[in-house]
Symmetry: C2
Subunit: 306 residues, 2 copies
């Protein structure tokens, strides 16, 4: 079977609410139970009937569940694991959706009893919105969902979780947690920090009025603001917990940037031209890999003349 009897969603933000919709659509659980720390979020979840049952505590929510999904910020994972550990059903699978994997494993694994299977996970999917109303059933369709199982975990619960996630529409890959954190530092964490920084620079610039920055944002800057609008709590935790890899990539980024900055200052056009030509090849690779299309997108997210 690809489903579970009872799925417990701990934390009811974008990912959990999208999972709830998708699980229902594909009939992947007999019951979906949910918990959120905030009373307001729990009320909203009840009001929109997001899940079958909303629990006051995480401990209550996980009772009798054969799949528990931790959908809280990375920094809150350890405390939640400690709270739910005594209440977990023997044989249950516990997974999470945190953007960093080594730190989550370090925070969660020591609390969990030997009779459950902890399979860390990370869906590479999202929007700039958060909260229980932001979810939709197709969020995971054709998106990657990375699993970083521990060595000791037997293959059966991993295969079962994989089948479940694939039914939600995701493409599942298994990888080592350390490598996950490095790859994500390159393709996601550092780009996000850079986007946040550039938007912050624009905000500080009093000589360029707020209005002009917004008005002409389509020229490249808009893509940065979209990235930089993501959930502040989640991103704070990402940088605090994937510190080593992010600082490594940031260091490399700064070195490269200084080389290009020097080329501009010295008027070295050949160096700039060669650099910009090389980066085109990566873009071509992404289009060939089917991760994007080459079609003009009429300003939706496309690059702009400057």
């Amino acid at each position: 079977m690809t489903g579970y009897k009872r799925v417990a969603l701990i934390g009811l933000g974008l990912i959990a609410s999208s999972m709830a919709h998708a699980i229902r659509q594909h009939r992947l659980a007999d019951e979906i139970v949910g918990h959120a720390k905030s009373a307001g979020t729990r009320e909203t979840a009840l009001e929109i009937r997001l899940v079958d049952r909303v629990c006051e505590t995480a401990a209550e929510a996980v009772q009798g569940a054969d799949l528990v999904v931790l959908c809280v910020p990375v920094g809150a994972m350890g405390a939640i694991a400690a709270e739910i550990a005594p209440h977990l059903e023997p044989g249950a699978t516990v997974t999470d959706v945190g953007s960093v994997k080594q730190a989550v494993i370090a925070a969660v694994a020591p609390h969990l009893p030997g009779h459950v299977h902890f399979i860390p996970g990370h869906p590479l999917a999202g929007t700039e919105h958060s909260g229980p109303r932001s979810g939709f059933a197709t969020l995971f369709v054709n998106r990657w969902w990375l699993l970083t199982p521990l060595e000791a975990t037997p293959p059966e619960p991993v295969a079962r979780l994989r089948g479940f996630l694939e039914t939600l529409g995701a493409n599942v890959d298994l990888m080592d947690a350390h490598r996950h954190d490095l790859v994500l530092a390159v393709v996601s964490h550092t780009p996000h920090l850079i986007a946040y920084t550039m938007v912050g620079v624009a905000d500080h610039l009093r000589r360029v009025t707020h209005e002009e920055v917004i008005k002409y944002s389509a020229s490249g800057f808009r893509d940065f603001t979209r990235i930089a609008a993501s959930d502040p709590t989640m991103w704070r935790d990402v940088f605090l917990t994937n510190k080593e890899a992010t600082l490594d990539i940031l260091g490399r980024f700064t070195e490269e940037l200084f080389i290009l900055q020097r080329a501009i200052r010295m008027g070295d056009g050949d160096q700039l031209f060669d650099y910009f030509t090389r980066t085109r090849a990566i873009r071509r690779g992404i289009i060939e890999a089917g991760q994007d299309t080459a079609a003009p997108d009429f300003g939706r997210g496309g690059p702009e003349r400057g």
Copy 2:
């Protein structure tokens, strides 16, 4: 009238070919004449009947034209202006589509005779593609086209050019050339340099294979590659000619980045959270200004969980 008798397009890349399609669609000229330096580009233009007449030289192309549009890289503007100057029709309007305005004015204006009107311009529109086959008639629809007329230019030719560009679908704004270059350094030039740099970093990283970077690129990095795939010649010239403003904004960017980098290193979560919260407000402003929508875009260009 909003059109011209004869429009001469000098340079036949994305912008010129899109203008040719749009001018035809809206019947904004009796004749469109084109010239490109490369014989291959001229052949392609002939083959696809991009314009009514393809000329071997820019000097020949501008003869009898009442609108001349310089669509060559910023670094080539001065030489083209010197070449066409003796052949310009009295009363003709000369405009350009360069991404930098002060440098273009400095390179072009001294060559032009007093009997023509030079009205520098810059359409904020583009795709990641270039060349005579890349154009399409709707490229400028609902996009900004900035004009930075000189003080001495009378209002009539400016109003006429403005009407022409608005008929192509653009929103036209007038602004000072110095301010243009600063605003564009913030909303376009620096974001492009940063995107090029980040893609370059990924390219150098041997520990993260090319394949993984491409495979998981949807997590933020893909937006950078799209920006970084733009025409290398054009962008080299942008940075060489808008050097002062770009270096200014880059300096501010580096300062900010170091502050965030230090916060990560020191584990200062409050500082990160406050910063990320502030940048959300700019994003909201862009949505309210109608420059983007808040709808989830299913991975097309949206921000990603990381």
